[in-house]
């Protein structure tokens, strides 16, 4: 049984123009100790997905799912009180913005310890000892003194390390990391990434890693699910996805990444033309077809999820065919 099992998850947000279908029926699962990467550009629904899993959706959002189970517990029917017993204890989250994710008014020690005191009923001292251990483990020096410091006394990279330590305080089964490295500069990004991977393997925690970066970041995962316009359009073990991408969007994303040694210096970087369709109202057919170089009349119909090799699926009419020739540009008269 997977640790997290999601079938046909939908998140709808009422907006002025109607209903925004932020997440449009996605399926995925995460096994114990596994790292799943959710990749997609801004507005593809990946953050809404993570908030839905945590039960932290905005109050107006509507969530429906055929199945949303965490370790056999049905999250859709769980009361808010029982849900908060899980949050921070068995599933925790690392956010994108380390600069604002910590409360400026309390010491790091206070914020690190309050969760484990609440969930595990441990004493303040035991909690502090665990906090010191984890701060050292995430590579923060003078951990004991840090407990009495305030967030504003730390750099962004350090704060993100504190957030990681905080997420590990109760030894959760699942950590959801929502673009944890996006707000950091590149060298720090690599450090944080390596740290997360190490800790994930050391503690056997399952991780859902959310990112827009199919280049470096997604490669650390065991499996990758690519999201587009509120849907998972491709899902595969990491090597298979990179070796044999089945969806034109995935191929587009991969071709956007400059490859060292291959991409000539000074050459133009690839980009996918066009914009993401509006998710207000119903989306008919393949959501990517207006940007797809291989679009055919068939794409007016909603594509099925096609299975490729082991555990590799793509939502494209042509996923299991050899790549069709690009559509001929219409002749201009």
């Amino acid at each position: 049984m997977p640790l997290l099992d999601v079938k046909n998850l939908r998140v709808d947000l009422p907006v002025e123009a109607g209903t925004l279908h932020a997440v449009r029926g996605i399926d995925f699962h995460v096994d114990r100790g596994e790292m799943l990467c959710l990749v997609g550009e801004s507005g593809c629904g990946k953050s809404m997905t993570s908030l839905a899993l945590m039960g932290l959706l905005p109050r107006k959002a509507r969530l429906t799912a055929d199945r949303l189970e965490f370790d056999g517990i049905d999250l859709t029917t769980l009361s808010e009180r029982r849900r908060s017993d899980l949050r921070g204890a068995r599933m925790s989250m690392i956010f994108q913005e380390p600069m604002t994710a910590l409360n400026p008014a309390y010491t790091l020690g206070n914020q690190l310890c309050e969760g484990v005191i609440r969930h595990r009923g441990v004493s303040r001292r035991e909690a502090s000892e665990r906090a010191i251990y984890l701060l050292e483990r995430v590579g923060i020096s003078a951990a004991k003194d840090r407990l009495n410091q305030y967030p504003h006394q730390l750099s962004g990279g350090l704060r993100q390390r504190v957030m990681i330590a905080m997420a590990l305080m109760c030894e959760p089964d699942l950590i959801i990391a929502d673009e944890p490295t996006t707000a950091l500069d590149v060298t720090i990004q690599a450090q944080i990434l390596r740290l997360l991977r190490e800790l994930q393997q050391e503690f056997g925690t399952a991780v859902i890693f959310i990112t827009h970066d199919l280049g470096v970041v997604a490669r650390i995962a065991d499996r990758v699910s690519v999201m587009y316009a509120g849907e998972v359009i491709e899902s595969a073990p990491t090597p298979a996805l990179y070796a044999n991408p089945g969806h034109p969007y995935t191929r587009g994303l991969l071709s956007c990444i400059p490859a060292p040694g291959k991409t000539p210096p000074g050459s133009r970087l690839q980009a996918i033309p066009g914009v993401v369709p509006s998710l207000v109202g119903n989306v008919e057919g393949c959501a990517f077809r207006n940007r797809c170089p291989q679009a055919q009349p068939t794409c007016e119909r909603t594509p099925p999820l096609k299975s490729l090799l082991d555990d590799h699926q793509a939502r494209c009419h042509f996923a299991d065919q050899s790549v069709p020739a690009p559509r001929q540009p219409e002749t201009m008269s």
Partner: protein, 305 residues
């Protein structure tokens, strides 16, 4: 924190000195003191006599230094009107004003903050609208009118509480309500705005992601940050209530500092006016200092600045 407080105290002292100079000068610039003390029927000789008796013929700097030296030892001279020293008058009146102001602030804070939090949590519901109505009424209604209404209802019609005087706690109930209601709306709305802003903050989401109980999220994580501007406002409002409660003191015939100042001004009783102005200014300075220290205690970022 220590150096922060010392720095603030030094600033406070220099502000106090500046105010003492300004208040002293203003009185001397407002006209010839000897003439106004002597009254309209006095002869020129009498005016000159008064000028010499009160030391008004000396250079103004000397007069100020003398007055300041006295003020430092709580000697503000004698009242021209009452047969007692200024200090005795103030010591007599101050407890009434302090009691009234303290009660009114306590009342205002204990209504404004819970109501502001509630309005923010129940944003755009009838609870929020009712709180807004309560605030608008409080801001729009003149305090003397509200005070008189309270007297009519509770003192005259129901006869539950006395209408005037300052002999027992019962006498402070109605004036504290009248003055407190006046101070409530601004604090309530600031609390509400602060809570709405803070509840959207990333660290509130973090707190919820930790699975903390709702009470802990709202009161520990949100209110602590939302309350910071309210503390400064409460200090200013208390200063206002201590110095500017003349209207309420008149309506309820409380002989507080406001009443004393008003009487002293209308009687050209300059030593009293100067002393009261200085003391009210000192209230403000001390309260601002306390608010700064409270803010620093609430917000660690201020301490290191």
């Amino acid at each position: 924190m220590g150096t922060f407080i010392i720095r603030r105290i030094l600033v406070a002292i220099s502000v106090a000195l500046t105010i003492s100079i300004v208040s002293f000068m203003l009185l001397h610039l407002s006209g010839d003191l000897a003439t106004s003390i002597a009254g309209p029927e006095a002869t020129a000789e009498q005016v000159e006599q008064i000028r010499i008796d009160y030391g008004l013929d000396r250079p103004i700097v000397n007069q100020y230094l003398d007055w300041l030296g006295g003020a430092l030892t709580f000697d503000f001279g004698r009242s021209y009107y009452y047969q007692s020293t200024v200090v005795d008058l103030i010591v007599d009146r101050m407890p009434i004003t302090l009691t009234l102001g303290g009660l009114a602030l306590a009342l205002a804070v204990s209504i404004a903050i819970p109501l502001g939090v509630l309005a923010a949590l129940k944003r755009d519901t009838w609870v929020d609208r009712l709180a807004l109505l309560f605030a608008v009424v409080g801001q729009a209604m003149p305090s003397f009118w509200f005070g008189l209404t309270l007297i009519v209802i509770f003192a005259v019609t129901l006869q539950w509480l006395p209408a005037a005087g300052s002999d027992g706690w019962q006498h402070f109930v109605l004036p504290a309500i009248a003055l407190g209601y006046y101070a409530t709306p601004a604090m309530m709305r600031l609390t509400r705005t602060g809570m709405l802003e803070v509840l959207e903050a990333d660290y509130i989401r973090t707190a919820r992601a930790k699975g903390l109980r709702t009470g802990s999220v709202i009161f520990k994580h949100a209110l602590r940050n939302a309350i910071i501007p309210v503390v400064a406002l409460a200090a200013v409002e208390l200063g206002f209530m201590l110095g500017g409660s003349v209207v309420i003191e008149s309506v309820f015939s409380l002989n507080g500092l406001g009443q004393l100042a008003w009487d002293a001004i209308s009687r050209n009783d300059y030593p009293v006016v100067q002393a009261v102005v200085l003391i009210i200014a000192l209230f403000y300075i001390v309260l601002t200092l306390l608010a700064d220290v409270a803010n620093a205690a609430l917000d660690p970022r201020i301490r290191t600045r």
